[in-house]
């Protein structure tokens, strides 16, 4: 690649006819295959991103229905509507699904869709891996839904503490389904994170140096790196559990020299960063929306970036605050109190910077911004209750009580889902070309906001009054009746709000107002192409001239030329300054990742029942992987031959 030339030119050198020819050729090169086999072969990040988002919302709905059932059961004391066996399955699946199949995937899905558009490239890095990760995620999620429908779902809580989840106290296969679901989501999440990091570091458009990257891209980078460092811990943790259950190892069996606390350390070393893995992308969404609806860049860009990165680091240093009641030494607990309190500082900085941005700009109150304001009202409360939980003495009282349930719904629903829904309202016009109904959107917001607070605020008080978590019923004389009933009624509003959101999405998808390329006048690159974006994303890879790619663009902005349009070639740039250094060719769509995911899923599900699943799946797995990586130089070689032919003819002439 030594002959590679800096491929930047001024826009005016390209004629309209050339542009049209380029468009046709790019469309042919970056085609999205059709038909059933084609559907399973797609490697385009936009298609996969949309599938990811829709799938995640399906799981969200399922888990939300389970939550409704729980509120129905808890509406009155000593209720016999749902027995303990079913209730334990319901709350386990609700938590597991919301965390592993909705919150993390939907945020990564948004990254899969948006990051390549925001950094100015034609596809996500490793597009086949991206397709593979989606199918693994889908099959794992379907497995959990099926176990729930068959009444054999996991019933040991979303964190499956041992020894309860061990072979002695949960015979049968329920805990194995949980452990393997975790494996499914680990594989999917790790794959997506690797793709995102590679895309962000190596495929940014020229000029988009690290200090010009949009805050959303920064937040996805921090998230992806956190996933890469947190997941190995849960891989270890769930594999040990599976081995204990399947082949009789004793990692967690205290009677044989194992340790039941080991699980908690491994699980929370992943489990706490997990919370930030969900929350950090939401911070990126909030920044995108605030800047678009104030028409100003976010106040304090450097402080915002530093805060995101700091959150990513500190997030790994506070897992023990989930274990304050286990009887660890006092000095250790105090360290983790301090660490848990420190993480409030970067979050505080971001809140203050956003308020400063709103102060300076001139906010336009469209639905996305309204959801972000709801985020402020809910999340700040959740963050403060989080600070109180970091204090050991206070935590000893409220730990594992409804106070904690209230806290994490405030930070997860308020901190992540409200911005996410705002983000859907925000990017829907880009994804579909149609605007979502703004008036319905505001009704939607108020239903969700009021419903949320009626449902979850009383839980703070219930927790302070001593109501423990994860109980399928409670006695009549404890003084918890009224608040539980209120909370259940609030859940009704939430259900209505959720249904209205789905209705608005479906209606707007069919009959919504057609939006322009950039209906909000936002700053980032995804708003520069048509809505929905063409398969190749950018006709010309842009050159970024400032922190706000579109607002800082000069009239004769340079573009990148010299990238081949007859093969799937993309520009590779260096990590710091995004100087172009190379080109790479992305693979064609292929059915092999799908087949590989099928075999992998068969292996994961099979190993719930027998260790023989491993040797049996090795051969088919090898076949699919060989198919996947089979070198296909044909297209490129043909193109080079054609070029040589052209040159020969030219020379002859």
């Amino acid at each position: 690649m030594s002959e590679f030339v800096h491929p930047v030119e001024r826009r005016m050198t390209i004629s309209a006819a050339d542009e049209e020819r380029l468009r046709t050729q790019l469309e042919r090169t970056w085609y999205v295959p059709r038909g059933i086999i084609g559907w399973c072969s797609v490697a385009d990040h936009k298609t996969m991103g949309k599938r990811y988002i829709v799938t995640a919302f399906c799981f969200f709905t399922f888990a939300g229905i389970l939550a409704g059932l729980m509120r129905l059961q808890l509406a009155v004391p000593n209720n016999h509507f749902i027995g303990p066996d079913l209730y334990n399955q319901i709350f386990t699946v609700h938590g597991t699904m919301m965390m592993f199949l909705f919150a993390v995937p939907v945020m990564e899905a948004l990254g899969v869709y948006l990051v390549p558009l925001m950094v100015g490239t034609r596809n996500i890095a490793f597009p086949r891996l991206n397709a593979f990760s989606y199918y693994v995620y889908l099959f794992g999620g379907v497995m959990l839904v099926v176990t729930m429908l068959l009444n054999t779902a996991p019933d040991v809580g979303w964190f499956s503490y041992v020894p309860l989840a061990g072979p002695d106290y949960t015979p049968g296969k329920r805990a194995d389904f949980w452990a393997q679901l975790i494996t499914f989501t680990e594989v999917a999440a790790l794959a997506v994170s690797v793709e995102l990091v590679a895309t962000i570091f190596k495929a940014r458009a020229p000029g988009m140096s690290l200090n010009r990257m949009p805050l959303f891209v920064w937040s996805m980078l921090v998230t992806a790196l956190m996933v890469i460092f947190a997941m190995p811990s849960i891989v270890t943790c769930s594999s040990f559990l599976l081995l204990d259950r399947l082949v009789g190892t004793h990692f967690y069996n205290p009677a044989e020299g194992g340790d039941s606390l080991l699980w908690q350390h491994l699980f929370w070393f992943f489990g706490h960063p997990e919370v930030y893995i969900i929350f950090v992308p939401a911070l990126g969404i909030v920044s995108s929306i605030i800047s678009a609806f104030t028409w100003r860049p976010i106040f304090g860009y450097s402080a915002m970036v530093m805060s995101l990165v700091a959150t990513g680091f500190i997030g790994f240093g506070l897992w023990v605050h989930h274990m304050f009641a286990t009887g660890l030494p006092a000095l250790g607990l105090e360290y983790f109190t301090a660490a848990s309190i420190v993480i409030a500082i970067p979050t505080g900085i971001q809140i203050f910077c956003w308020i400063a941005s709103l102060w300076r700009g001139r906010p336009r109150f469209h639905t996305p911004l309204v959801f972000v304001l709801g985020f402020f009202a809910i999340f700040v409360l959740g963050g403060l209750s989080g600070v109180t939980l970091a204090s050991v003495p206070f935590d000893l009282q409220v730990h594992d009580s409804y106070y904690v349930v209230a806290h994490f719904h405030y930070v997860l629903l308020g901190g992540a889902v409200f911005p996410l829904i705002g983000g859907i309202y925000f990017w829907f016009p880009k994804m579909t070309g149609r605007l979502m109904d703004d008036r319905l959107g505001k009704v939607n917001f108020w239903l969700l906001f009021i419903g949320f607070n009626i449902t979850f605020f009383p839980m703070h008080i219930l927790g302070l009054e001593g109501m423990p978590r994860r109980v399928y019923t409670y006695p009549d004389n404890m003084g918890w009746n009224t608040l539980n009933l209120v909370s259940s009624l609030g859940a009704l509003l939430l259900v209505v709000g959720g249904a209205l959101f789905v209705y608005n999405v479906v209606r707007s998808y069919r009959w919504g107002l057609a939006g322009s390329d950039n209906p909000w006048g936002a700053e980032t690159l995804e708003w520069s192409m048509s809505s929905p974006p063409p398969v190749y994303n950018f006709l010309h890879i842009p050159v970024v001239e400032g922190r706000c790619a579109l607002w800082d663009r000069s009239a004769d902005a340079p573009i990148v030329t010299g990238i081949r349009s007859d093969v799937r070639e993309v520009l590779i740039s260096d990590v710091m300054d995004a100087e172009p250094i190379n080109v790479a060719e992305y693979p064609e769509p292929s059915i092999w990742p799908f087949l590989c995911a099928v075999v992998t899923s068969g292996f994961f599900i099979g190993s719930i029942f027998t260790p023989w699943a491993l040797p049996v799946s090795i051969l088919p797995l090898a076949v699919t992987l060989i198919g996947w990586f089979w070198p296909k130089k044909r297209d490129r070689e043909r193109a080079i031959e054609e070029q040589d032919e052209d040159r020969r003819l030219h020379d002859a002439a």
Binding site: A325, W359, R360, L384, T388
Partner: protein
């Protein structure tokens, strides 16, 4: 939590009130700042360097204040934490708290081995004195929690940890398992009975005695039924042949306030239902239904009710 009756709970409640008030204050300040930012009268986007400078200053002040508040919280937390980790005086009594699915066993230490006894689901403590608690479990993880008296302490199999409890006024305080422990986690409660020292010592003396001998014919018949049926496979009654410790000991069961780990009041009707089919009351618990004839059931009831 905000109705403390012991030194630990009181110290936590005081600290907790401060935390909550501080949180409410910070919340209000942030929300007011947000509302002002939104409602500020402005015609244009305010981009003057003057505004930016002022905002930078204000954001820095806000961050500095946050740090100060957080350091204050951390300090207060450490100070009140130190007060509750270890008791103020020597423990008057030492009790092993053992978690089972889904009941509690309180084993009272004594230098004389024959004076060691257990009191299932009912912890008696003397008022005004710290009681040392050794927390342990034989099956899964449970968590010992009496909100009016103290915070939680997990009972972890394979690990024994020490903590303490103290009540300042006589009374009965309800506690409940706080770590999810399976099917009947919801029905794993306990009573802490705090009583003056002399009453407490009388209780201890009584608990150390073996079970009362049946006095009437019906009670004698009940004892025979008990000893010949499945009851003895799990339950112990000191002074008789029943010696299994899989389930709660029944030596003085009639003296307790509740049955089935705080699930039902200890009354004859509830007990009858429990013995006949406990699964309809606490589904999934370890006790099988007992198909006794009505006469046998009444006899067993009479006998068990006589075990004061």
């Amino acid at each position: 939590m905000f109705d403390p009756h012991g030194p630990i709970a009181r110290s936590i409640a005081t600290h907790g009130w401060w935390l909550l008030l501080m949180s409410i204050a910070v919340y209000l300040v942030v929300m007011v700042a947000l509302l002002i930012a939104l409602g500020r009268r402005r015609r244009e986007i305010d981009d003057q360097p003057e505004t930016t400078r002022r905002l930078t200053r204000n954001v820095s002040i806000a961050v500095a204040l946050t740090v100060v508040i957080l350091v204050g919280i951390a300090a207060s937390s450490v100070v009140s934490g130190r007060g509750i980790y270890s008791p103020s005086g020597a423990g008057a009594v030492t009790v092993d708290v053992v978690g089972h699915q889904w009941w509690w066993d309180f084993q009272y230490h004594d230098v004389t081995p024959s004076d060691v006894f257990t009191s299932p689901n009912e912890l008696h403590i003397p008022v005004g004195l710290p009681v040392v608690i050794k927390a342990m479990s034989t099956d899964v993880i449970h968590s010992f929690w009496v909100p009016n008296l103290m915070g939680k302490r997990d009972l972890i199999p394979g690990i024994v940890t020490n903590t303490w409890i103290q009540a300042d006024e006589p009374g009965v305080y309800r506690g409940q398992c706080a770590e999810f422990c399976g099917h009947q986690h919801a029905h794993m409660a306990l009573e802490v009975v705090a009583e003056p020292m002399n009453t407490f010592q009388a209780w201890i003396r009584h608990q150390r005695e073996p079970a009362a001998e049946p006095a009437t014919d019906e009670e004698r018949r009940g004892k025979d039924v008990f000893m010949q049926s499945t009851c003895v496979t799990c339950h112990a009654i000191r002074g008789t042949d029943a010696g299994s410790h899989l389930g709660p000991e029944l030596t003085h069961v009639a003296s307790r306030l509740t049955i089935a780990a705080g699930t039902l009041p200890n009354a004859r009707g509830h007990l009858a239902g429990w013995i006949a089919n406990s699964q309809s009351i606490k589904p999934g618990n370890r006790m099988p239904p007992n198909a006794l004839t009505p006469d046998d059931l009444q006899a067993v009831l009479a006998y068990v009710r006589s075990l004061r």
